[in-house]
């Protein structure tokens, strides 16, 4: 009798320990995911002149330092301009293409799908190198911003197209038919019904595309030059050449911006756009 009860309690205890160990294991990996980011952000507030963790004192001096650096201001401006322009292009052109893909049945539709979404499949390294190679051939490799914008369109356009396409395909076509029956012709319906319905997901897609463009290294590294550069590329160089926490402060600025975009997406559409395929 007592033996049975004892073995039951031991089993329960074993399960409890197992569950506890499991929880610790999962916690470890969660920390693993955010550790590098958290550490850099924390270190950027250091009062010391070296990258020390934990930082000995709290200070904002490295942010002041960064704000005064001209390369920072230039690179930040470039990155923002590139991201804005390439995302805008992506939204306008991508929405049109998404409309065709979502609602029109035409021969060659598969071709359009494959072509427009191909930059998502091809390795970024290859895209960067290919574009760079082509620019060198045309002796255009030093044009600066236009080259970077062209490269970044490859990041933003397929992404936005896919997002808007999914949003449009997911809406009830009865909404458009309802608009027709109420007297709206196709153009009016597009402006007043199709676009507004796809708007939340499209906005989220645009924000994500902007973020990926702003934070990109792989394609940018092939296209930067003396006339234009991006913030991530500059930070990369800065990490190699300086031992002080300057790049950490810049990183914190970048993380802060990314956080803002993340919250924007979370508030407007929710994180479910990441989990739904």
């Amino acid at each position: 009798m007592a033996d049975a009860a004892l073995s039951r309690s031991l089993t329960t205890l074993a399960w409890r320990c197992g569950r506890g160990a499991f929880a610790l294991y999962v916690l470890f990996w969660l920390l693993f995911l955010v550790a590098p980011i958290v550490i850099i952000v924390v270190v950027s507030f250091t009062g010391a002149n070296y990258m020390l963790f934990p930082p000995p004192g709290f200070s904002l001096k490295w942010f002041a330092e960064v704000a005064s650096l001209s390369w920072f201001r230039t690179a930040l401006a470039s990155s923002l301009i590139i991201a804005t322009v390439s995302t805008t292009i992506a939204v306008v052109i991508g929405t049109l293409a998404a409309r065709a893909l979502a609602r029109h049945r035409f021969r060659g539709r598969v071709v359009v799908e494959y072509v427009v979404l191909s930059p998502l499949i091809l390795p970024a390294v290859v895209l960067g190198f290919a574009l760079f190679n082509a620019l060198v051939l045309l002796r255009m490799e030093n044009l600066g911003l236009p080259n970077l914008i062209a490269g970044h369109v490859l990041i933003t356009l397929p992404f936005v197209t896919r997002s808007v396409w999914a949003a449009m395909a997911g809406t009830d076509i009865a909404l458009e038919e309802a608009a027709y029956s109420l007297g709206a012709d196709p153009r009016t319906t597009f402006w007043r019904v199709v676009l507004p319905t796809a708007r939340p997901s499209s906005i989220a897609g645009a924000i994500l595309a902007f973020t990926y463009s702003f934070n990109d290294i792989t394609i940018s590294i092939f296209l930067t030059g003396p006339s234009a550069t991006t913030l991530p590329v500059q930070v990369m160089a800065n990490i190699e050449y300086s031992a002080d926490p300057t790049p950490a402060a810049v990183s914190t600025v970048m993380v802060g911006l990314t956080l803002v975009f993340f919250l924007l997406i979370e508030r407007t559409v929710g994180l479910k756009i990441f989990t739904e395929r």
Partner: protein
């Protein structure tokens, strides 16, 4: 409206700008690269010399095998880390699940530079890990955790773990929780239920995630570049070196072609797995 009167010209008009931009910036340059890979340095007849040169180059072959090793290790790590994470996400209460989801998704959005920089600080010779281990007396000399394959694997694991988790979450969402309750009521304990009910149903999603992570690991560039350093090139960083250091653009083109073929192969495999999964489980 399936109105047959509606011409396809409208659709083409809508798609043309996107087609043109993509063709101009991606497809034509890539095609040019493809052609260049099959041309010898001085000549215009297609040959395989560039690819043969790769096979002959010790550096290139090492890079290839290293890429494979790193990708495999990364994929394995993402599975053993990602599956439990996905399971927890599935079962957790909404508030906890939201927090975990934030922790999984936010790193996806942060720039690679920042993440790698963080790893350099954590794993460097005077970094947090080494300093703690030395202070605790566990080791005498710092461990080499960066500028080598280990560092690359760690970096890529952190980069790609969210992808694995999200792939698994997507497929686990489709597993009917009542199935598990049925198994439990029939006498199976949680571990057995997992192995015999949840795991089999999630296999297509797991396969899809594996293919995704593996292919992303093989084509990752920024992480191996920044953590690995010049002494441990992968195929992607080798391409970069060929372009900017040794000016071996023919070799770079050949490597690019190999990378593209690999990427396409993985995407195709992924599609097949997803279709097969749909056929079996709907």
């Amino acid at each position: 409206m399936d109105d047959p009167r509606r011409p396809a010209t409208a659709a083409w008009l809508l798609s043309t700008p996107a087609l043109v931009l993509t063709a101009l910036f991606a497809l034509m340059p890539s095609f040019h690269l493809l052609v260049a890979a099959f041309l010898p340095v001085n000549g215009s007849t297609p040959t395989m010399t560039n690819f043969e040169a790769l096979l002959d180059s010790k550096l290139a072959m090492q890079a290839f095998w290293r890429t494979l090793r790193v990708a495999t290790a990364t994929t394995v790590l993402t599975i053993i880390a990602g599956y439990p994470l996905a399971l927890v996400l599935r079962k957790a209460k909404p508030r906890l699940a939201a927090i975990i989801l934030v922790l999984v998704i936010f790193p996806l959005m942060v720039s690679v530079v920042v993440r790698v920089y963080g790893w350099l600080v954590i794993l460097g010779p005077s970094g947090i890990v080494n300093k703690s281990l030395i202070d605790l007396g566990v080791i005498a000399k710092p461990l080499a955790l960066i500028h080598n394959e280990i560092g690359i694997v760690i970096g890529e694991t952190q980069l790609l773990l969210p992808y694995m988790v999200l792939s698994l979450v997507a497929v686990l969402q489709k597993v009917d929780p009542y199935l598990e309750e049925a198994a439990l009521s029939l006498g199976a304990n949680p571990i057995v239920t997992f192995l015999r009910v949840v795991l089999p149903i999630s296999l297509p999603g797991l396969m899809s995630g594996i293919l995704l992570v593996f292919s992303l690991a093989m084509t990752a560039f920024a992480t191996p570049l920044l953590i690995g350093g010049p002494r441990v090139p992968l195929m992607t960083t080798l391409l970069y070196t060929y372009v900017f250091t040794s000016f071996n653009w023919a070799g770079a083109a050949a490597v690019a072609v190999v990378l593209v073929i690999l990427a396409l192969a993985f995407v195709t495999a992924q599609r097949l797995v997803t279709e097969a999964g749909l056929k079996r489980h709907g």
